[in-house]
């Protein structure tokens, strides 16, 4: 290995350096504090689990994304967690064995096997922050999660938030009714997910589905936009009862969000099928202008079911490294106090006092002109008293 190569890091791995590191830590504290006030219990899920435990309930995408190793102690395969939500669901149903609703938050590093270019990923070790409300089916839980998501974004520095909402249930109802063969399903899913109007048209014509459903499939990719879209959807696709119920749900959520928060644009996207594969109902994604990637992703899922316990849940996750990009860039703020290195009881007392009140006091090391310190003030002995003077 050449000398300079010793400083290189693997693709997608980065060091977080000052002042960014302290900004991230401050934001982490603020968010966890916010969640605490709403009664969310902090869980620190393990980074490593046996592979079979970790992959028990997740889809193929997440399986590929999981970094795998061999555990020397047990001889079994272990994996680094690539997403905390399934872990939280496992802990809730198998370890805590909660019966009623339970609120959970977490902030932890997750690890990805590769950079997902389709997701514009730039790093493989995001710091995942999340909130989950487990064990409750009603809309109230979804609303609480959305409100908290919006508050989290505002705390991070977002000014105007664009929230895109959708419902995976619509697609599921259609697939169930149309009885489409499995071999076409993947193609259809991709075409709808890409909003490829023409491809959906061609495919639906090719595979001969029931007239009633055919019309909706063709319309679905075009149903995205502001509130008018829901009205349009009522006119055009609500003749299937199950779909009308889901539209009612979306409308209700829209009304409730609008009542509770201002300065937010809500976008309806009825053909949104993104997110991880475990979502099964109402879903949402939050965007802020100037940031290309979505800042928050969430929605309804039921992973607990696969652990033998019905557990309707809803939640949302963020990447702390991405949230911090909303943080207003400030010039290096200097706010420390420089103190001489002396054996002096009065000085020591003064320093302790200042630190008690939250000031940063840095000892001057003898013989070095310190550049690294970010001090704007200095402790000086004036009239036998230690006093603060500006530098």
């Amino acid at each position: 290995m050449k000398n300079y190569e010793k400083n290189l890091l693997p693709d997608g791995i980065k060091e977080i350096l000052p002042p960014q590191s302290i900004n991230i830590e401050n934001l982490r504290k603020k968010l966890l504090n916010l969640y605490y006030k709403y009664g969310y219990n902090l869980i620190i899920p393990p980074h490593i689990e046996f592979l079979e435990t970790l992959l028990n309930v997740v889809g193929y995408d997440l399986e590929l994304q999981t970094v795998k190793l061999i555990d020397m102690l047990s001889g079994k395969l272990i994996g680094l967690s690539a997403d905390s939500t399934p872990q939280i669901a496992r802990i809730d149903s198998n370890v805590l064995k909660n019966k009623g609703p339970y609120r959970v938050c977490y902030c932890t590093n997750v690890f990805r096997a590769f950079l997902d270019e389709d997701q514009n990923d730039l790093e493989r070790t995001p710091i995942q922050v999340g909130i989950e409300l487990l064990g409750y089916k009603g809309l109230e839980a979804d609303i609480e999660i959305i409100i908290l998501t919006i508050k989290s974004l505002i705390v991070s520095g977002a000014k105007h938030i664009n929230l895109s909402v959708g419902h995976i249930g619509i697609y599921k109802v259609l697939v169930k009714k149309s009885k489409i063969k499995k071999k076409y399903l993947k193609q259809l899913f991709e075409a709808i997910d890409n909003k490829s109007y023409t491809d959906v048209d061609l495919l639906i014509d090719k595979i001969n589905v029931d007239f009633k459903v055919r019309k909706i499939f063709k319309l679905l990719p075009k149903l995205h936009g502001d509130f008018k879209i829901i009205q349009k959807a009522y006119k055009t696709i609500s003749y299937i009862k199950e779909i009308k119920v889901l539209l009612d749900e979306l409308k209700e959520i829209y009304k409730l969000i609008n009542k509770k928060v201002k300065n937010i644009s809500i976008y309806f996207d009825l053909s949104d099928l993104k997110g991880y594969q475990y979502h099964n109902g109402f879903i949402f994604t939050a965007y802020v202008s100037g940031v290309v990637k979505p800042l928050a992703k969430g929605g309804r899922y039921d992973i607990g079911q696969k652990y033998g316990k019905q557990s309707p849940a809803t939640g949302c996750t963020f990447d702390l490294n991405l949230l911090i990009s909303l943080h207003e860039k400030q010039e290096n703020i200097k706010e420390g106090i420089l103190a001489p290195f002396l054996e002096d009881k009065k000085l020591e007392k003064k320093i302790n006092e200042l630190r008690f009140y939250g000031e940063q006091v840095i000892h001057e090391l003898p013989g070095v002109c310190t550049k690294e310190n970010n001090c704007n003030r200095k402790l000086c002995l004036i009239k036998k008293e230690w006093q603060i003077r500006c530098l």
């Binding site: 270019e117 389709d118 997701q119 514009n120 664009n162 895109s164 890409n194 909003k195 490829s196 109007y197 023409t198 491809d199 990719p221 995205h224 936009g225 502001d226 976008y267 996207d269 994604t285 965007y287 202008s289 940031v291 290309v292 990637k293 979505p294």
Partner: protein, 208 residues
């Protein structure tokens, strides 16, 4: 207020057709695009700018949000993946076929073969789906030469009229996919700038 939009166009044979299509929608560059070395053009619609890129870079610009929309061939999307993008419109211009081709009268029957192409990912997927073990050789141009010079037994390329193939003693064999030109849209732009993007999409659909 209408937010500014950037549309990325592909250089080459589809540029002229895309421009005339945009012209019908009232999107006309202020300066002439032909014989111009500039790559960024303002249009008569003030909020709309055009950039002109190599086709293969168009999805990258749109995916990473440097451009909001793009016009590009489906072949490029198939090769580079279109997962992070919306592709609402098929313009049905610059139609052609993505095909395998080989020397006239010579059919490879082995389940292993050497294939020369610039569409490496498409080739991998295609042969895997046929259960054929293909050694894929990446070339950047003049694919037709590869079978003649014994570099490969088969090629995968875009076939328009088939004349280049014929002149080199080759013929198209199997159709992989019909190709045409698509409109692609960045997913985040679609949501944040829907007030300008959605009407534009509808306008473009109406003039195809």
């Amino acid at each position: 207020m209408i937010e500014p939009l950037v549309i990325a166009l592909s250089k080459g044979r589809i540029l002229f057709k895309s421009l005339s299509l945009l012209k019908k929608a009232g999107i006309i560059p202020i300066e002439s695009v032909e014989n111009n070395r500039k790559l960024l053009f303002n249009t008569k619609k003030k909020y709309l700018n055009l950039i002109i890129l190599r086709a293969i870079d168009v999805p990258t610009y749109v995916k990473l949000g440097a451009a909001d929309m793009g016009i590009v061939g489906k072949d490029v999307l198939l090769e580079n993946g279109s997962k992070g993008l919306y592709e609402p419109i098929d313009f049905k211009i610059s139609k052609c076929r993505l095909m395998t081709a080989g020397l006239i009268g010579f059919n490879v029957k082995n389940t292993t073969r050497k294939v020369a192409t610039k569409f490496v990912n498409i080739a991998k997927r295609y042969y895997a789906s046929k259960g054929i073990k293909a050694n894929i050789i990446k070339l950047y141009g003049a694919m037709e030469l590869a079978p003649i010079m014994n570099l490969a037994e088969e090629i995968i390329d875009i076939v328009d009229t088939g004349n280049t193939l014929k002149e080199n003693g080759m013929e198209p064999k199997t159709l992989i996919k019909n190709i045409s030109t698509r409109l692609i849209v960045n997913k985040t732009s679609m949501i944040i700038k829907y007030k300008s993007i959605n009407p534009l999409i509808e306008l473009l659909i109406s003039i195809i």
